[in-house]
């Protein structure tokens, strides 16, 4: 029995634990053994919290024996290392926070733990979530379980690789421009980015505060629904958290595709899209159509400006947010500073990696006197146009569907020379962040042995529709069951 526990989804694990087929301790031991065996090759974890995980599993088993325990009692998961975890190293993939032990828990860490989740460790990520390939991590790149020469995507690449390789059934992630959905697509997993304000950002290390949102990477939409129900909801400690009722996401899964209006954006199938990836996505759309959904083309005249808009807004917010790293209160500090200015400049120069420095500098430039109007203000105006395009589209459709990423996983090192080539990886996902909309990616095919994803975007608070659509698709196809050969 125990050698098969890693193959179970979160929903299957929940049922197995409830029936007493195995204990949380047995499950946790099996998964920790798998992490031990495989993670040297993958580098998906920055920290493995074996001791705490076993203690939490033991408590979960005891709670169950006493007829208690939350909805996630004994369910294992991994936290992206961007979430603060009390008394556990929280690095954000950076040398800057190499030794940072968080004095508190992020709200979602607290909520998941209160529901009984068992945390196996903290996953690797692009430094401060700035990257689309996991190559900017101070702790080295993560390898894609489908092909070790390839990137798993990013920035939540460690979370995606851990779930794809069956080292953990689920992981948390964050998505500022596609950082949950793109790695999910590139690893054959399900990635859900909720509406801005749906999930608390308290204790989630900030990159771009008007775009950042926490979500999950799982093996099915049903699993994503289960976790979102626990994570979502108002949090007084996050000033951008919205007090909006949390529906029963799992209940939404049982609705069929009948009458679902699916919008297609023409530009999402332009020449930038890999031909075979496009074919897989078109086939997925045909499956939706054959099973009750209607397809309509929607016009989004400003969507082409998403990536340049993002690369003004996100760096601007990043340069402000990351000014807190000054070598004084926490984080890396340079040796023997001459004066305060030298302390700031060298601590930051040494503590941040190249991509983070580039983004801080881009942000500093677009916010500087004389350039603010031409770049930052202009970008916030274009952002409004893009948000209006979505608003208009959602007057006639329930979801917008297309590819998650333009290509399957690319080779490590392939896109590191030109930042723009890397940035264009998020061309289909960034729009949702700019407009604060929820999005999901679910596996829809294999191209040369590498997974590709179907991307769905919904209106604000449209998570139920996204989960319903993705779940139905998963019932009609078996792409989400595909497992990388070395990890079955």
């Amino acid at each position: 029995m125990s050698q098969d526990l890693h193959t179970l989804t979160l929903t299957q694990i929940k049922a197995g634990l409830e029936k007493g087929e195995f204990s949380a301790v047995e499950l946790t031991e099996a998964l920790l053994a798998r992490v031990e065996k495989h993670d040297d090759a993958l580098n998906a974890f920055i920290t493995v919290t074996a001791e705490q995980a076993l203690a939490a599993a033991k408590s979960a088993d005891a709670a169950r024996a006493a007829g208690k325990g939350g909805v996630l009692n004994g369910l294992p998961l991994v936290h992206k290392d961007i979430f603060c975890t009390r008394d556990i190293l929280t690095t954000c993939g950076s040398r800057m926070l190499e030794d940072f032990v968080s004095p508190y828990d992020a709200t979602i860490v607290e909520r998941l733990a209160a529901a009984g989740a068992v945390v196996l460790g903290k996953s690797n990520m692009d430094e401060f979530a700035m990257g689309s390939s996991n190559e900017t991590s101070f702790f080295g790149p993560v390898r894609n379980p489908w092909n070790a020469e390839c990137s798993p995507g990013g920035s939540s690449g460690g979370s995606a690789a851990a779930v794809a390789a069956r080292l953990a059934p689920a992981a948390t992630g964050t998505d500022t421009g596609g950082s949950i959905r793109q790695p999910a697509a590139l690893t054959g997993t399900v990635g859900l980015k909720p509406t801005y304000g749906r999930v608390s950002r308290y204790g989630m290390i900030a990159f771009a505060s008007s775009l950042d949102q926490a979500g999950v990477i799982t093996r099915s939409s049903a699993d994503a629904a289960l976790l979102l129900g626990v994570m979502a909801g108002f949090d007084e400690r996050d000033s951008t958290s919205i007090d909006h009722p949390v529906p029963d996401y799992t209940a939404a899964l049982s609705q069929s595709l009948d009458g679902l209006r699916v919008g297609i954006v023409k530009q999402h199938f332009d020449e930038g899209l890999d031909e075979q990836t496009g074919a897989a996505v078109r086939e997925a759309l045909a499956v939706l159509e054959a099973n009750g959904a209607t397809l309509t083309e929607v016009d989004m005249p400003n969507i082409d400006l998403s990536v340049p808009t993002y690369y003004v807004v996100a760096p601007a917010e990043c340069s402000s947010n990351l000014s807190r790293f000054d070598g004084v209160r926490f984080g890396h500090r340079a040796d023997d500073p001459e004066d305060l200015f030298d302390l700031y400049c060298r601590s930051r120069g040494e503590g941040f990696g190249a991509e983070v420095k580039r983004r801080i500098m881009t942000g500093t430039y677009v916010l500087s006197a004389g350039y603010y109007d031409a770049y930052y203000l202009k970008a916030q105006q274009v952002r409004h146009l893009i948000a209006d395009d979505f608003k208009k589209a959602f007057e006639t459709v329930d979801v917008i569907a297309g590819p998650t990423a333009p290509t399957p996983a690319f080779k490590l090192g392939d896109k590191t020379d030109d930042p723009i080539t890397m940035y264009l990886n998020d061309i289909y996902t960034i729009g949702a962040n700019l407009a604060g909309l929820p999005g999901i990616s679910t596996p829809c095919g294999l191209v040369d042995g590498l997974p590709v994803g179907l991307h769905l975007v919904g209106p604000h608070w449209g998570e139920e529709t996204l989960l319903r659509c993705a779940h139905n698709y998963e019932q009609l196809t078996d792409w989400h069951f595909a497992c990388p050969g070395d990890f079955s």
């Binding site: 032990v101 690369y311 004066d339 930051r348 006197a369 916030q380 274009v382």
Partner: protein, 114 residues
């Protein structure tokens, strides 16, 4: 009042016209504003890559945004405020465990005033 930065560079105007790409001098100026010391070998690469990024985002200038209100919040809601009351307990010692240098509960920095 905000103190003037030691280098006098805070809010310095870079150049009035919008350049197609950035030169070394401008990148140096940005690095000072951003409080980042770049190693010599990092510098040339930063000039090149930063220029490419600025050229890329320059395409925004083509968009017609006359009469468009800049977006301030993705959900178009106002910032929530709370009463100005102390709600947190004092956890100074715990917080300072992550500080690189402290003494008697204070953060240590290089001498600022002679």
């Amino acid at each position: 009042m905000r103190a003037r930065a030691p280098d006098g560079a805070s809010r310095t105007r870079l150049k009035q016209e919008i350049p197609v790409s950035l030169d070394k001098e401008q990148v140096q100026q940005i690095a000072v504003l951003a409080r980042l010391k770049l190693a010599d070998d990092e510098f040339a690469e930063t000039v090149d890559k930063l220029s490419r990024i600025v050229d890329f985002v320059d395409q925004l200038s083509q968009a017609d945004t006359s009469d468009v209100v800049p977006m301030a919040h993705p959900l178009d809601v106002a910032q929530r405020l709370r009463a100005d009351e102390v709600t947190e307990s004092n956890e100074r010692d715990r917080m300072q465990q992550n500080a690189p240098a402290t003494q008697d509960g204070l953060y240590l920095v290089p001498k600022v005033i002679e």
